[in-house]
Amino acid sequence: MLIALLATLLTQQAVPQEAPQIMAALTHETVEIREDFAGTELILYGATRGLTIQDEIVVVLRGPDQDLRVMQKQRSFGIWVNAQAQEFDAVPAYYTIASSRPIEEIASQEALVRNGIGLAQLLDESASQTEMDLSDYFAAVERAGARNALYTAAPHGVEVLDGGLFRATLALPPRTPVGNYTAEVYLFREGRPIASRSTSMRVEKAGIERVVYEFAHGAPILYGLFCVALAMLAGYAAAALFGRR
């Protein structure tokens, strides 16, 4: 499958010289979360046209959005209590940047912000209206995501191969959220993106995970009765197995 993929990318490359272009494809269109899911690796293959030695490649994989509430802890009566809530709407639950060189060497902060690359920029847009300085809150969201490996940066995660081809390795951690993902690939030259392309994929539950999840959310009343019945049966079976002394 990979060979076929590369072949199509290569034939596209054989077209006569034009403006720089970038193409990409993910090895999976859907990633399935099954009962043994403990994280996986996702490979993005791509090809560029007109790649020069100074050019760099940046890959951004962005997961489904979620609404967050961030609270600062405050001590009151000797115990730490959550206070000063700040809400963020539509923050990506997963966000990773892979690049062929450390991103700060590829482009300036302003250039990245202008192109909507980087989590800080997204957080700034998603924060609900306030006069407060939110930089501590942004940092808290980034820390929380980084703890579960949901927000990562791979400064050498993009490998440039011969003939304008490249390969990016993206890690999906055990806590990978379910939903739609988009991968944006950028070709940077002299600190500016000169070409970009996006592709998408889905992470979804499969097998038993899916059956249970859909049962619990699709028919919650029936599911509740099922859980209770199963537990009673288990208790009764245990009594029958061990109990008769």
Partner: protein, 313 residues
């Protein structure tokens, strides 16, 4: 071997879960307690979201109390009339508790309330149990002081007897107002929903010291109430909050059932007072750990909570 839990949405080692179930099952078999007060905090320590931990533990308690309640029913060592009253109160408490849980979760304060409830209840119960068992051990060592005037029946009638709506409870040999059992049931039902416990550690002392029920029917009646209240709590949490993870509950149950068998056997070789002192220390240890976490300066001064789109709303 990792297993991905469909509702908790995290990947956990399957042997860790079976081991936790077996360990807590061993202790509950040994001490004759439900173990919810140990299991729920442990689940949260390993990273299960609090809402899922509490609801799923209620589901596990259904399994672990079902066999016990059945045995007591057969042996007629429970008071069905009293159990029914406790259950009426308990059902109302459970419904109230689940609503309160959703409300506090919406405010972002549910973790704090769970921790505070644990610290206060475990502290009080553990402390009382420790004092009581140490006294019992002392008494056994100095048998000349044994003639205590304790609970010998001729205690003066208290406020309980002044309450209206009296009812006869033939199995317990009591004639008391229906208000205290309903109130106790309500209180325990609320705890069950918020803390993910059966509530035996509150109900058993309350039945002995407040209702003055004979000890022979206390455990059976308490199990009867716990079975139905946790069943209702499981159902409500599943229907309203979608926080019951049946895979997690079943893994804990399998471990728990096996652990309880060995625990019950081990318990026969240890003396009652020492056993209770040991349990008291364990309860206090969990209490101190949770209390300590509330007062030490947190590693991260911020918490990030899911908001809005969550199942709870």
């Amino acid at each position: 071997m990792q297993i991905y839990l469909p509702i908790a949405e995290i990947s956990v080692n399957i042997f860790l879960l079976l081991g936790l179930g077996a360990g807590v099952g061993f202790l509950s078999g040994m001490f004759g307690v439900g173990g919810g007060f140990l299991m729920t905090p442990l689940l949260m320590f390993i990273g299960i979201p609090p809402a899922v931990a509490v609801s799923t533990e209620a589901n596990q308690i259904v399994a672990s109390s079902a066999s016990g309640a059945l045995a007591h029913w057969r042996r007629k060592t429970l008071d069905p009339k009293m159990g029914l009253l406790l259950l009426i109160g308990g059902s109302a408490g459970s419904i109230f508790g689940v609503q309160l849980f959703s409300f506090l979760r919406g405010l972002g304060q549910i973790d704090l309330i769970i921790s505070l409830s644990y610290v206060s209840f475990l502290g009080i119960i553990g402390g009382l149990m420790l004092i009581e068992s140490v006294r019992a051990i002392m008494r056994r060592r100095h048998p000349e002081q044994r003639r205590e005037g304790g609970r010998t029946g001729h205690r003066k009638r208290g406020w309980i007897d002044a309450l209206p709506f009296k009812m006869r409870f033939p199995r317990s040999g009591l004639y008391i107002s229906v208000i205290p059992p309903i109130a106790i049931g309500f209180f325990v039902g609320t705890l069950a929903a918020i803390m993910g416990v059966g509530g035996g550690f509150v109900m058993v002392p309350a039945m002995i010291y407040i209702l003055r029920m004979p000890t022979s029917v206390v455990v059976g009646t308490s199990l009867f109430q716990i079975l139905f209240v946790t069943a209702l709590t499981t159902f409500l949490q599943a229907a309203q909050n979608q926080t019951v993870d049946v895979v997690l509950a079943m893994l804990l149950t399998v471990g728990g059932v096996i652990g309880a068998q060995f625990g019950a056997r081990a318990g026969r070789h240890v003396k009652g007072e020492e056993l209770r002192a040991l349990l008291a220390f364990m309860v206090l240890a969990v209490c101190l750990k949770l209390g300590w976490d509330l007062v030490i300066t947190p590693a991260d001064m911020f918490v990030v909570l899911p908001h809005g789109g969550e199942a709870a709303h």
